[in-house]
C-alpha cells in the first residue's frame, strides 16, 4: 500500500511537471513575444492551464494524506519560498481572466503578472528540488534550518535549470499549437534551450555526486540505473532531429521523455528516501487505515477517471490555434 501511494505520488508529480510545466514555460516565453503573438500563445494554453495546475493541489493533498510527516516537514521548511510561489501562481492565474478584460492601458499589469508569475513560480519549484538534492538541515524528521536554511548556490542553479526546462517544454508545446511567427520563433529557441537544459542536467548530476558519497556509491553499485540518463540522451538527439525535420508533434513528446528520464534519475538516486537521507517513504507513511481508505476510492477509481476525462478534454482542444484575425 505504501508502495502504491509512493508510485501514485510520483505519477502526480510527473503529471504536474509535464502539464503545468508547458504552460508555465509558455508564460516565461511570453516575455519575449510581441502583443499579437501573445494572444495566440495564451490561446494555446487557456483551456487547459487550470486543470494542469490542479495536479499541484492533487500532489499536495496526496502528500498530506499518504505521507503527512513529509508534507509537514517540507512545507514548513520552504515557508517563505512557497508563499512567494503561491502568490506568483495567483498573479499568473488571474491574468488569464483579467488580461482581456483590462483596458488596453492596463494590460501590461497582467502581462507582467503572467510572465513574472510564471518565471518566479518555476524558479522556486526548481530551487526546492535543488535544496532537497543538496540535503535540508533535518533532525528527527523535523526541519531545523531556520527561515533561509534552504538556500544555496546549488539550489539557485536548479531554479535556473527548471526555468530553462519549462521554457523548453513550453516551446515544444507552441510548435504543436501555433502557426506563423510563434511557431517559427519556438523552433529557433528549441535547439538553444535543449543544449542549455542538457548542460544544466549534466552539471547538476556531477555536482550532486560530488556532494554525496553515498549517491556516488549507489550509481557505481547499480550501473543499470544509467538507463535513465541514457534514455534522456537518446531523447535529446531525437528531439534535435525532429526540430530539423520541422516535425511539429514530435518535440513535445521527446521533451516529455527527457523530463521523465530526469525525474527517474532523481527518484532512483534517493529511493527509499523522500527527504534525502533524513526521512524514508516508510517513516513518512500514514497508517494503513488511511492508505487503504484512499486506495479504494481515490486510488482505484477516481484517479483513472480523472486521467480519462483529462484526456477527453485534451482531445477536445487538440489541433492548432489559428489566427482568426480580429485585429
Amino acid at each position: 500500500m505504501i508502495l502504491f501511494w509512493a508510485a501514485l505520488l510520483a505519477v502526480t508529480i510527473l503529471l504536474y511537471v509535464l502539464l503545468d510545466g508547458f504552460d508555465l514555460g509558455v508564460g516565461i516565453l511570453f516575455a519575449l513575444a510581441s502583443d499579437s503573438n501573445r494572444r495566440k500563445m495564451l490561446a494555446a494554453i487557456s483551456p487547459v492551464w487550470d486543470g494542469n495546475e490542479t495536479w499541484l493541489v492533487v500532489t499536495g493533498t496526496v502528500l498530506f494524506g499518504a505521507f503527512p510527516a513529509v508534507y509537514a516537514a517540507l512545507l514548513s521548511a520552504f515557508y517563505l519560498p512557497l508563499v512567494v510561489m503561491l502568490c506568483a501562481l495567483i498573479l499568473r492565474g488571474v491574468a488569464f481572466e483579467f488580461r482581456h478584460k483590462a483596458l488596453p492601458g492596463f494590460r501590461w499589469i497582467w502581462d507582467l503578472g503572467f510572465t513574472g508569475g510564471s518565471l518566479v513560480a518555476t524558479f522556486i519549484q526548481g530551487m526546492t528540488v535543488g535544496a532537497l538534492v543538496e540535503g535540508l538541515p533535518m533532525k528527527d524528521g523535523h526541519y531545523v534550518g531556520g527561515t533561509f536554511g534552504w538556500f544555496s548556490p546549488f539550489a539557485a542553479l536548479c531554479g535556473l535549470g527548471l526555468v530553462l526546462g519549462y521554457s523548453l517544454l513550453g516551446a515544444s508545446w507552441l510548435v504543436r499549437k501555433c502557426e506563423g511567427p510563434v511557431r517559427e520563433r519556438a523552433y529557433q529557441l528549441l535547439p538553444v534551450l535543449t543544449i542549455g537544459v542538457l548542460a544544466f542536467l549534466a552539471t547538476a548530476f556531477v555536482l550532486a555526486l560530488s556532494m554525496h558519497l553515498s549517491l556516488m556509491n549507489r550509481w557505481l553499485e547499480r550501473p543499470y540505473l544509467l538507463i535513465f540518463p541514457l534514455i534522456g540522451a537518446i531523447a535529446s538527439i531525437s528531439l534535435l532531429k525532429s526540430v530539423q525535420r520541422r516535425d511539429d508533434l514530435a518535440p513535445f513528446r521527446y521533451v516529455a521523455l527527457i523530463f521523465t528520464a530526469a525525474f527517474g534519475t532523481l527518484a532512483c538516486s534517493f529511493w527509499p528516501y523522500m527527504i534525502p537521507f533524513a526521512v524514508t517513504v516508510e517513516q513518512a507513511a500514514s497508517p494503513k487505515e488511511s492508505l487503504t481508505f484512499m486506495f479504494w476510492g481515490a486510488g482505484l477509481f477516481v484517479m483513472p477517471l480523472t486521467l480519462a476525462y483529462t484526456l477527453v478534454v485534451y482531445r477536445l482542444f487538440r489541433g492548432r490555434v489559428l489566427d482568426i484575425g480580429y485585429d
Binding site: 502528500l63 499518504a66 514548513s76 488571474v94 487505515e289 481508505f293 481515490a298 483529462t310
Partner: protein
Amino acid sequence: MVWTALLLSRVQFAFTVSFHIIFPSFTIGLAAWLTVLEACHLVTRKPVYRRLFEFWLKIFGITFGLGVVSGIVLAFEFGMNWSRLSEVTGPIQGPLLTYESFTAFALEASFFGVLIFGRPRVPPVVYLLSTMMVALGTTFSAFWIMVNNSWMQVPVGYALENGVFVPTDWKAIIFSPVVWVRFPHMLVAAYLTGAFCVAATGAWYRLNGKFAAEGRLMLQMGLFLAALLIPIQLFLGHLNGDYVHDRQPAKFAAIEGRWHDEQPAGEVFIAIPDEAAEKNQFELKVPYLGSLIASMRLDSKEIGLTSFAKQDRPPVIIPFFAFRLMVGCGLLMMAVAWLGSLYLMTGRKKGETLLLWATFLSFPLPFIATLTGWFTAEVGRQPWSVYRVLRTADAVTPTLTVGAVIASLIIFVVVYLIIFSFGTLYVYRLLKAGPIEASHPLPDNPKRPLAVAGGSPVAEIAQRSRT
C-alpha cells in the same frame, strides 16, 4: 497582546480563508444556476436563457478563477503554518482533502475549460453535461471541506497512537451527524448567495430601466428561490445550534453571552460581553427563552462560561457578535425575499421602487452571513484546533518565526488586495454592460469551421463587444 508566530498564523489563516470563502460561496450557487439556465435553454429554446447564461458565465469565469487561486493557498497553509497539526491529523485530514482534490478540483477545473472555450466544439448536450460537472465539482468540494471541518469541530472515529490521530472508523467520520447538518447549511448558504446576487442584479436593471426581460427573469428566479430556501436555512441553522449545544457547550455559552450556569436560562438578545469582568455590560435579556431555545424546555439548566477553566474558554466577543450579525442578515434576507416574492406574484406597483432598492442593496447580506457564520464556528472552537484534543497553540509550526509570518502576511494582503480590487472592477464592468446580445452570434453548430478555428471565442467576443 503579543504578536507571536501563533497569533500571526491565526490572523493569516483567517484572512486567507475568509477571502477564499467569498468566492466558492458565490460560485457554488452560480454553477447550479448556470446549469439550470442551460437546461432551460435546451428545453425551451428561448434566447433569453442563453443571453443570461453567457452573461453570468463571464462573471463566473472571474469569480471562479479567484476562488481557485486563493484555494490553492489553503492546501499549502496547513503544512506551512500548522505543521504540527498536519503531522498528527494528516492520516485523517489528508485523505479527506485528497478526496476533495480528486473528486472536486480536478472535475471542476477540467470542465471549466470546456465551459469557457468549448461551446463551439461540443454538442449542446455535452456542453450541458460539462456545466453540470462544474456544478457537481463545486458541491463535492464543499462536501469534503465540511467533512474535514466537522471532524475538527467534533472529532470522531479515531484513536490516538503516539500522539497521532489514526482513523478507526471512516464511516463515523464521513457520516457524522454533524457533517449532515453543517454541509446542507453551507450548501443552502451558497445557493442563497447566488440567488441574492442574481436577484439584486435584476433589481438594478429594473431600477435603471435596462434589460427588461432579463431583469424580470433574474428577479423572479432569484427571489422565489431565496423565499423558498430561507426558512429551510433557518431550520438548518437551528439544527446547527443543537449540535453546538450538545457537543461544544463552551462555544454555545460564548454565542449566548452566558457567563454563569442558569436554571431556567434567559436569552441575551444584545449585550456588551466583558471578558475581564466575566459578565455582560448592558444586556437585553428575555427570561426562560434561553432554556426554550437550547433545550426546548422552560426549566432546563444551561451552562455558563465560568464553568470552564479559563484556558478552555473561547474568546467571547467574536462569536457573540458574529452570530447575531449572521442571524440578523438571515432575517433581513427573509423579509426581502418574502416581500419581494409577494410583490412579484400579485403584480402590485405601489412601493415597488422601494422594494427594488431593498433587493438591490441586499446583495452583501448573504456574504456577510456566510462569513460571520464561519467566524462563529471557527473562533468559537478555540482554543482548540481539534476540539478538546489538540490545542491551536500545539498545532502551529514550531520553527516558524515572527518575521517570516509578518512577511508572508504582508505579501498575501498586498496580492489579495490587488486581485480583489481588479476582480471587483471587472465584475462591475460586466454587470454594468449587462446581458447584451453578442455582436458576433455565438455558433450553435459544432461543425462550423470558423468556430473550430477560434481558440477562445468567448474571450474574443467579450473583448470585441466592449470595444
